[in-house]
């Protein structure tokens, strides 16, 4: 059984859940989670949290994402991407020039309406359930931030590639449609690749083929599994002795602890990552352990 984080380059056509289902066998653990669902059409980095590391998924400090997206002008679909049913087509009267002129305007904080085909819940029901039943539900816009948007070039007729760095919860499908709306033409997403998710980058991700091959040749190498502490890298490090370690495992506060107030990554004397802890007013308290007591 493996603990830690495995970066997968999700293949096109797979759901993020398909990846987990396959990896249960490969990693020999049922305890798997991922952070940041990728649409089936999308490829790119999917961080899979295995074993004790699953609890780190929603404690990540950085949820920002970077995508390379291909926008197709002249078409709009029900799902917002090319896999959906076409709702509208229109002759394309604008080109690269107009797109280049409006792109900078999409930088910054903005309101985005979650798409009907999304897992966002309204009144406790995921929107896609209503969407599949052919219904439209009233949604409230959510605040997102586009940190940067960069033009990467033309990709084909009426298709353009952009790189977008954005906050958690940003739907690139909706951004593509919004860009189309600003240009006065329907638009949809024809390709999407996530190149970074939080601290994780596509360069460190493994393809499913690599993983399945490794599984057949004696299992996924240990060095492919990143330590849980990778997601907490910006926090200061704390090394604790045997006694404090026991306190942490017992959930018992350690008073008069000589460290500044704040949140810490805690390691034992051997350098094994134990988990997260907080110091307030000289008292050290465990926040979450990611290590077996043994």
């Amino acid at each position: 059984m493996k603990n830690g984080i495995l970066l997968v380059d999700k293949p096109q056509g797979w759901t993020s859940f398909d990846v987990l289902a396959k990896l249960r066998g490969v990693l020999g653990t049922r305890k798997l989670g991922h952070s940041g669902t990728l649409d089936p059409m999308a490829t790119g980095v999917l961080a899979v949290f295995a074993g004790r590391a699953t609890a780190a998924a929603d404690r990540q400090l950085n949820h920002d994402k970077t995508y390379e997206a291909t926008i197709r002008l002249g078409v709009r679909t029900d799902t917002g991407d090319i896999t959906g049913t076409v709702l509208e087509t229109a002759p394309v009267t604008v080109g690269q020039q107009e797109l280049l002129e409006i792109l900078p305007r999409f930088t910054g904080v903005q309101q985005q309406l979650p798409p009907m085909y999304s897992a966002v819940k309204v009144h406790g029901q995921p929107l896609y359930k209503a969407a599949r039943a052919g219904k439209t539900v009233e949604r409230t816009p959510r605040e997102i931030t586009v940190y940067s948007i960069e033009y990467l070039g033309g990709a084909g007729e009426n298709e353009y590639r952009v790189r977008v760095a954005c906050s958690k919860g940003t739907y690139i499908r909706v951004l593509a449609e919004d860009i189309g709306a600003a240009l006065g033409v329907p638009a949809t997403l024809s390709a999407l690749r996530r190149t970074a998710a939080g601290v994780f980058s596509i360069e460190d991700a493994h393809t499913m083929n690599q993983l399945l091959e490794a599984a057949q040749n004696g299992g996924v190498p240990d060095e492919w599994m990143l330590g849980t502490d990778a997601v907490f890298a910006p926090l200061p490090e704390l090394r604790v002795g045997e006694k404090v370690r026991t306190h942490l495992f017992n959930g018992c506060p350690t008073s008069r602890y000589p460290a500044q107030d704040g949140r810490y990554r805690v390691y034992d004397e051997n350098g094994t990552f134990l988990g997260l802890a907080q110091v307030t007013g000289g008292v050290l308290r465990v926040e979450k352990l990611f290590c077996e007591r043994e």
Binding site: Q96, Q97, G108, V109, Q110, R163
Partner: protein, 307 residues
Amino acid sequence: MHILETLAPVDAPQGSAVALGFFDGVHLGHRTVLGAAVDYAAEKGLTPAAFTFLLPPGSALKGGRIFSVEEKHRRIASLGIEQYQEAPFEAFCSLTPEDFVRKVLVECFSAKAVFCGDNFTFGAKAAGNVEMLHALCEPLGIRVCVVDMAKYKGENVSSTRIRAALEAGEIGEVNAMLGQPYAIDWPVTHGKGIGTSRLGAPTINQNYPKGALQPCCGVYITRICIDGKWYPAATGLGRRPTVDDEADAPITCETYVPDFSGNVYGTRPRLEFYEYLCPVRKFNSLQELHALICDAAEKSKAYFSKG
């Protein structure tokens, strides 16, 4: 991206796909050339590389350089180039076109394919052109791919055209031709402290060094990246007639960041330009100047925070 500042073999075990050019501005045309090399390398399992050069010390690029060396590197790296060689001009300027191909492309890069714009020249006195590159490379099994000039509003995109647009204050056109907002990252220097002491609007001073192209003087909507966070800002570029009415007063580049307060002296924050608001003019009082700065800052905040 690995940066090599000498003419030496790069790390390309399977050979490389090399983009050739000076790439000042990393504009749409450059992006096409660099992007073609990166795509080809990915397809053929080669190393994506770029070859450019450093200007001889003391000589300036005609018209002034658009970006700092660091900003140029950042943009080229973000396009996926892994090996980047920036040799001193003297190291290869006397090479004949034949020697350039042999010494640079074959010996340093183990090039399997080269990519350049259709106006590319190389070798001593720019004797080599695209036809010559074809003639010299193809017998060696090096594929030559000449990329058409990128167009904007029906005309070719060039560094010269971008410089002209910058000098005209057409920042929207500049950003469109760059494919990404124009940005500077000059070190923050001490100003006269007037912003802090008398105006109530402290500014970050990032004056242009010699040899860098100064955009049109005026007030701009900008944003600045400090410690990894972007802040809306307003930047005044030019002389400061209200506080310094000497005829030979220095041109400064000052940025007011309404939502930030802290010490950034000596750092090199990135400042991106988005819109030209108005020219610099003389005000009768510091209060009027203060009102203009605040108004520009409000416009900037609105620009980066929509609806």
